[in-house]
Symmetry: C2
């Protein structure tokens, strides 16, 4: 298992962690000041800066882009909605290629409005990814399927376990892998086995960290800083690395009432310190 | 599949649905007025009424008690806490027997304070249930292990899938079964298979209904009335009944800002109507 205290270069910053106060240019500069060597930017901030300008600034700063946030949201009650989503996802693939991202992260979408149950959503998602994969393979962009916590099944993502993600990847073939986020997966008693399975298939494309707070005040925007919650992060990182993962450890903290309100300089300092000591 | 519109006698009321406004005596009388033939009472309301008085009133009203809420909360950072929990669970078993409940529902407890990860909690829970089972078997009370939604893994129950519950039951042997609550399990792509597995083992002891609202404003107290959310309740009931379940359909709605604020007479009328039309 890697000693993160000796490998600060393995830290990646998901830009959501500080995006409430900084635009992408400020995030790039902040990462340089703090010695952070990789980022996972969000589409809207890239588009606000301009794709070419963002790509150039990231390259000039020597930053790796380990993931691009995000594609997905494939599900829709009607064919027009699904076509629109597919068009948008193709553009996201193109942007990921232009910005040099290692993969495009997919948050697949939940139950379409007016529907009941997950079966229809599952079918829509698999069909959509299969079609997006053709475009992604042609563009040399990997897709990073991220299972989200089951509490998001209705409104954000109907793929909620690594097992389900692995099964989809098995069926979909080359060009797609998984992102393992401790926040979404920490509770799952099959996690170790499914991480090993993903590793055997060479498909672990990302490892994301934050923490699960007790209590959790908000289902979306109350994630904790690593070390402040109940997730055994080193245990899961050990499983991921034993499965062959050699990539970045990406800190991604959605925290409307705590970390997003603080000075990003402080947030980055704490992220670095926790990365080195509790992850 | 049973036609619920023709079988009003299969409806059970989990008393939590109206307990903010009615005590147990009022709930018993309300069920009689509305033709509801079974209830799942909570320990504190039974104790407030007195165990003997409650048992007598329930029998006099001709109500079945399909489940007793609840045992569990086994996990603790120290042995003294676990002993205290075990003593309390033995009393819950005795109360369930006295009140004539078909089973004691178990919400097993989450990650002990100060701990990280689920492994320790899993071990504590399995150990505790194994010991409680001796007492439950001796008293002729079945234990109904209820997997809770993964969003409760930290603070309420570290058994979060029916698969995990089935595995525990396989290891624990006779006297324990599962309660399938659509709110906790609806998102799970392995649900149909695990319901069938539970049915083959003859261990489905309860089937609980409510609905998952979009958006969900509160992780604990914003459950929806059947039909108001995204769960395909008839689909899951079909699986449960195909697996051999012939018991009650129990409505259990935690809803601080909606149903708990309404007149329980209205709530019971709506429960009955939705039970007959959308479940």
């Amino acid at each position: 298992m890697r000693d993160l205290a000796r490998h600060p270069e393995l830290l990646s910053l998901n830009c959501a962690t500080v995006r409430q106060r900084w635009n992408l240019q400020q995030i790039i500069e902040g990462c340089q000041r703090h010695g952070i060597r990789a980022i996972a930017p969000w589409r809207d901030q890239v588009q606000a800066m301009g794709l070419d300008a963002a790509a150039k600034a990231i390259r000039a700063a020597g930053l790796a882009v380990n993931g691009y946030c995000r594609g997905g949201m494939f599900t829709s009650p009607d064919a027009a909605g699904r076509r629109k989503a597919m068009d948008d996802n193709r553009r996201a693939v193109d942007e990921a290629a232009a910005i040099g991202a290692d993969c495009l992260i997919l948050v697949v979408g939940g139950v379409p409005a007016g529907s009941k149950g997950v079966a229809g959503a599952h079918a829509q998602v698999e069909d959509a990814i299969a079609r997006l994969l053709e475009h992604a393979r042609a563009g040399g962009v990997k897709l990073g399927l991220e299972p989200l916590h089951p509490m998001y099944a209705a409104d954000r993502a109907c793929v909620n376990t690594l097992r389900h993600a692995n099964e989809l990847c098995d069926r979909l073939g080359a060009g797609i892998g998984v992102a393992v986020d401790v926040y979404h997966c920490w509770w799952d008693p099959t996690l170790e086995a499914e991480i090993a399975r993903a590793g055997r298939a060479g498909r672990i494309l990302g490892f994301h960290v934050c923490d699960w707070l007790v209590p959790t005040a908000d289902m979306l925007l109350d994630r904790g800083m690593m070390g402040d919650g109940v997730i055994d992060i080193p245990l899961i990182r050990g499983w991921v690395e034993a499965a062959g993962y050699e990539g970045f450890v990406e800190a991604e903290i959605f925290s409307a009432n705590n970390w997003w309100k603080r000075d990003p300089e402080e947030v980055l300092a704490v992220v670095k310190q926790r990365y080195a000591t509790v992850c």
